[in-house]
Symmetry: C2
Subunit: 435 residues, 2 copies
């Protein structure tokens, strides 16, 4: 990250520049949304001025770490479409409440005024949406009207009011494909080796990702499968009974478990770390797959194994769902279109326009309506015992993983050129976001 060259803001008097920023956990297609925002803004130059990205989300706004995207080459834009991670840096950092730290809000306002930002696109999760809305409200109250539009993304699929979340389909495709392969591995050796295999998926509060592993039923309808989604308290007795039944019937058993699995008392089964972050303690999860696999190993004296893909599931650009990729692009494009329609404080979300064939579009909902909601796995997507996937869940999940959007490979690896950004020369006094 160099700060060598500069590209200062144009002197046009209209407040019509655009700022795009990323926040929170990444998806394999978050940068597809970024490209969509950039391309759609550039295609509407009569409406918009320059387009900037903040480096590291809201923190980069506070610290005036901005990237001028006006002259990106088509090669760079093309490469960005396959780039894992957050190409512009994503922060796990939120503004303090206004009453606690008004200086932060004044600073954002100052940056927005200096760079004549009239539209702010924030590509993040629920928390980021609240932040974006607060920022926009503050700017509007201080004589600098800013249109604020959210760009949806999360692998967790917990976004309320949306048919699904951009980013989820690719994670689901990665997990289901990997689980299928590992299940065939386990199946092929269970006679004298591993009889129980667990795949630990992400999902702090919701079980969508563990549920998605159940898509292997499309290939192996009779697979001896157990799903342990985050929303359903872990019933150890019922679980062990089911493991025993499946191993008796099929000789082996495979299990997909949410990292956020809790016991009957609401305690996480596995905590990797307690971490102190800005303003709050954050329980870092991880390891429940081992917990479950060792429980089974000890209880039945059998060999078990466990895989924990962790970041691999949210950054697997080599196995992206084409459907998800298109949704991620449209999430960015719809955000810009909403801004052009004069909308403010909204989030474009996915709505079904047809079940069969599967057709979707984006509509906008107020940011405040979705920010504090969380979409959990509904009862009809789980069997009565809460440990198996239902046909209606498969029908919901299946369209989201269709198609492959494979990156080019070069030299045996995904061709992901690392893009070095140059931030603009700072015009304001320095400001430290984290004291």
């Amino acid at each position: 990250m160099n700060h060598l060259s500069s590209s200062s803001v144009s002197s046009a008097s209209r407040v019509n520049n655009v700022l795009y920023a990323q926040a929170g956990g990444v998806t394999a297609v978050i940068n597809t949304s970024a490209v969509a925002v950039i391309e759609t803004v550039m295609a509407n130059s009569s409406h918009f001025g320059q387009v900037f990205a903040a480096f590291n989300g809201i923190k980069g706004i506070l610290e005036e770490e901005l990237i001028d995207l006006s002259n990106l080459s088509s090669d760079t834009l093309e490469a960005l479409k396959y780039q894992p991670g957050a190409a512009f840096g994503a922060c796990r950092f939120d503004l303090d409440p206004l009453s606690h730290n008004p200086a932060q809000y004044d600073r954002v306002l100052e940056v927005f005024k200096t760079y004549q930002i009239g539209t702010f696109f924030y590509n993040g999760g629920n928390g980021s949406m609240i932040t974006a809305q607060k920022v926009a409200d503050y700017c509007c109250q201080h004589d600098h009207p800013v249109t604020c539009i959210g760009v949806a993304k999360t692998i967790d699929n917990d976004l309320a009011l949306s048919h699904c979340s951009p980013g989820f389909g690719s994670a689901a495709k990665y997990l289901a494909s990997s689980f299928l392969e590992a299940t065939l591995d386990t199946f092929s050796m269970h006679d004298t080796s591993t009889k129980f295999f667990a795949l630990e998926t992400m999902g702090r509060n919701t079980g969508w990702l563990s549920l998605s592993a159940g898509l292997i039923k499309d290939i192996m309808p009779d697979v001896p499968l157990i799903i342990l989604p985050a929303e359903r308290p872990f019933n150890q007795t019922a679980f062990l009974t089911k493991v025993q039944q499946l191993i008796q019937q099929k000789g082996y058993c495979v299990c997909a478990v949410s990292e956020g699995l809790q016991d009957q008392k609401g305690q996480y089964l596995a905590i990797a770390n307690i971490e102190h972050t800005h303003e709050r303690d954050y329980t870092q999860l991880g390891g429940v797959g081992y917990h479950i696999a060792q429980l089974v190993a000890k209880h039945f004296s059998i060999k078990t194994h466990c895989a924990i893909p962790d970041y691999l599931q949210r950054s697997a650009s080599h196995l992206v769902s084409e459907t998800d990729w298109k949704m991620a692009y449209q999430a960015g494009k719809s955000a810009v279109e909403a801004a052009m329609q004069g909308k403010h404080g909204v989030l474009p979300v996915v709505t079904l326009t047809s079940d069969t064939p599967f057709k979707w579009a984006f509509k906008t909902v107020p940011l405040n309506d979705v920010a504090n909601l969380e979409k959990t796995v509904p009862n009809e997507f789980l069997s009565d015992d809460g440990m198996d996937i239902t046909p209606s869940a498969l029908a919901y999940l299946r369209p989201l993983i269709q198609g492959e959007k494979t990156p080019p490979f070069k030299g045996g690896l995904p061709h992901i050129p690392v893009i070095e950004w140059t931030t603009v020369t700072k015009q304001l006094p320095s400001f430290k976001a984290i004291k």
Copy 2:
């Protein structure tokens, strides 16, 4: 697995039937070798009779669980080329020493005589090769000459006398691609989130798989990387010092660690389970990635993450190296050709015929010469501190991951039809391999 229909052995008097079996941990391309054996045998019908597979390796031979492969459709053969796991079942089971259990050897001899097996191809690791050799010796000593040829496979790349092991290139490609994606994820969020990410690879005694993650240097030459291969005792102080240096320089650090990492006293850093298997205790490894990540988290009070792909790395048929796939095919083909040349007790291994361009061929070596050897990562492939990959290691690894042999996808998932085998009707009294 049904035993419904039957296909008994032909009444031809020549002892020229073929038996193929799989053993030990699988690779993403083991079934490619199986197809090569089958196709090459079928193409030489003047030399060979029927071709059978044992279901579950040597255990299937003892229990007369045999599959007649003579009439496989071209569709099935094509599907097998992309099938993860061991299509015919792989066993973790070895024959007892002859002096302990001569009945086992008599039984194998009886099965071989009954099915007029003249050539035995065993697709396994070092242990299986010894077993195969012992079986062949016993048959020869008892008036039933059997040609025994090994078919090489292991993701661990520890096969001696071979430039590399079929199966390794695909695991290396999978690990390097996944590590690249997760590294870009970590890089993009390190400013306010995870600053240390560990990828735990397989590798009980050798560090080839953790080393292969270092291939990301081809994309990110300056990546702040630490490799902890199994052969080098873990020096905690040196490790933590390097982590600190890299995080100071780059803001983050990524690490690939072998599951078999040992401390200075030769103790494994992480043991998932102690498992009692046939004839011996087997220390099941797993979790060293967590160990390392938590060590760093506590020592520096920073956020860390860890991924443990486990079986995913050896069964990722969706990300197979074309070079490795070709080697796996040639491993099977060369084995059949060696048999036709009258060789016995040999293993075809990879030999380089040209460095630049990268060209290879198979040559045969005596099974006894390779069975007890283990190829470890040489010193010149690691930096002086033992924690970084060298240019010569990259030059060695790079050709092995070239090209993509992607399976067809159907309905969003790898199109891997589960093949149901029918074993032949048993002709012998029953025999239980494991009492």
